[in-house]
């Protein structure tokens, strides 16, 4: 049990460290990240930042959960940690304490936004 806890703690620490390092690189606020923090809305990460985190974690943890779990189901730091915990320890899928698993279906394709040059915005400069 202790070994399992050690492994889960290592996953949590590795994910948090990786996010912190990238936030630092991007010049974003990195203090006091907790698992409820939303990757985009709270931390200000962009989709390519999240991709970079996943690529680093693939090396660090030797796992890529997102061949199975849709990345769109990951909203918070806790979701990201749980994705790796479940991939590295599939027994957790039956653990009611693990909440992510929220393996949401992929979002429907979004309608492409019109290019900026064709979108009309109200002219606020008068």
């Amino acid at each position: 049990m202790l070994a399992k806890n050690d492994a889960e703690n290592r996953v949590t620490k590795t994910v948090l460290d990786t996010i912190t390092e990238l936030l630092h690189e991007q010049g974003l606020e990195s203090g006091g990240i907790d698992e409820s923090a939303k990757l985009v809305d709270t931390l200000g990460l962009k989709s390519m930042d999240i991709a970079q985190i996943v690529l680093v974690l693939e090396d660090e943890l030797d796992a890529d959960p997102f061949q199975e779990i849709p990345i769109t189901s990951v909203r918070t730091v806790g979701d990201l940690i749980n994705a790796y915990r479940v991939t590295l320890n599939p027994d957790l899928l039956t653990d009611p304490r693990v909440s992510l698993i929220n393996v949401a279906p992929p979002s429907p394709p979004s309608t492409p936004a019109p290019p900026p040059s064709t979108s009309r915005r109200p002219n606020r400069r008068r």
Binding site: M48, A51, Q52, L55, V56, E58
Partner: protein, 257 residues
């Protein structure tokens, strides 16, 4: 001239290029061009040619030299994954990817077997997308890179008998433009080179009359030499093209102008 040359310490810092389909034709010219520029070059094809054996003798194997060839069927996803993983493991990164491997398949669409259509899409498009996905991971981590997709004039002009081939090449150009936007913020450039007719196995199958007709319609009055196409690819792949991304460079002697 900002193209990187081999450093005085050896090859450990030399840029790494992966060229699909490098055993002959344009792919082989690209292998030679990048080796001449001092890069570390990896390539793959289904079977080894005498030219590849010669490069292996001249430039050694991975770990000690600058050239590595892999026996890979371009439609085999597992083999492609393993190849990219081996290159990254041994050379630590991929700086440049050139999606060169391709096949042709002439004939009226109405008479083509769907299995042949699928094969062409797999070789010309799906394997290029997979290679791009795998190599872009290394590039994103390193914060730099370049990708060149070998397209065709058939992607910009219609020609009877090559509808599926044209579709795969036009799809590559679409991949080029969207990926340029997606990867640009990570300092990764993506471009296409669309060659016209040049001395290659595909053109070798044309009749003499067909070749003469092409030459008549080409403002420069001749077919390209393979090395002329390779020069354009190297320009976009290397730092010489450092502010160019999302473009399709047509290299056809003016055929489509």
């Amino acid at each position: 001239m900002t193209t990187k040359q081999p450093d005085s310490q050896g090859t450990a810092d030399a840029p790494v290029v992966l060229i699909s389909g490098g055993s002959r034709g344009l792919g082989l010219s690209l292998v030679d061009k990048f080796l001449d520029m001092g890069w570390r070059v990896a390539t793959f094809s289904r079977s080894k040619t005498p030219q590849i054996e010669q490069r292996e003798q001249d430039h050694g194997s991975i770990g000690s030299g600058r050239f590595r060839w892999f026996a890979v069927d371009g439609t085999d996803e597992d083999q492609i994954r393993l190849t990219v993983k081996t290159i990254v493991k041994n050379w630590s990164r991929v700086d440049t990817l050139i999606n060169n491997a391709g096949a042709g398949n002439d004939g009226l669409l109405a008479l083509q077997r769907m299995q042949d259509v699928d094969q062409l899409i797999n070789v010309n498009l799906r394997s290029a997308i997979l290679l791009t996905q795998l190599c872009s991971k290394s590039m994103i981590k390193n914060g730099r890179g370049s990708i060149v997709n070998i397209s065709s004039v058939n992607s910009v002009r219609g020609h009877s008998g090559v509808a599926v081939y044209s579709a795969t090449k036009a799809a590559l150009d679409g991949l080029t433009r969207s990926l340029a936007r997606e990867l640009g913020p990570r300092n990764i450039r993506v471009n296409s080179v669309a060659p016209g007719y040049f001395e290659s196995a595909m053109v070798g199958e044309l009749s003499d009359d067909a070749k003469k007709r092409i030459q008549r319609r080409t403002p420069l009055g001749r077919l390209a030499q393979t090395k002329e196409i390779a020069e354009a690819v190297c320009f976009l792949a290397s730092d010489q093209g450092s502010f160019i991304t999302g473009q399709v460079l047509v290299v056809d002697g003016g055929l489509t102008c």
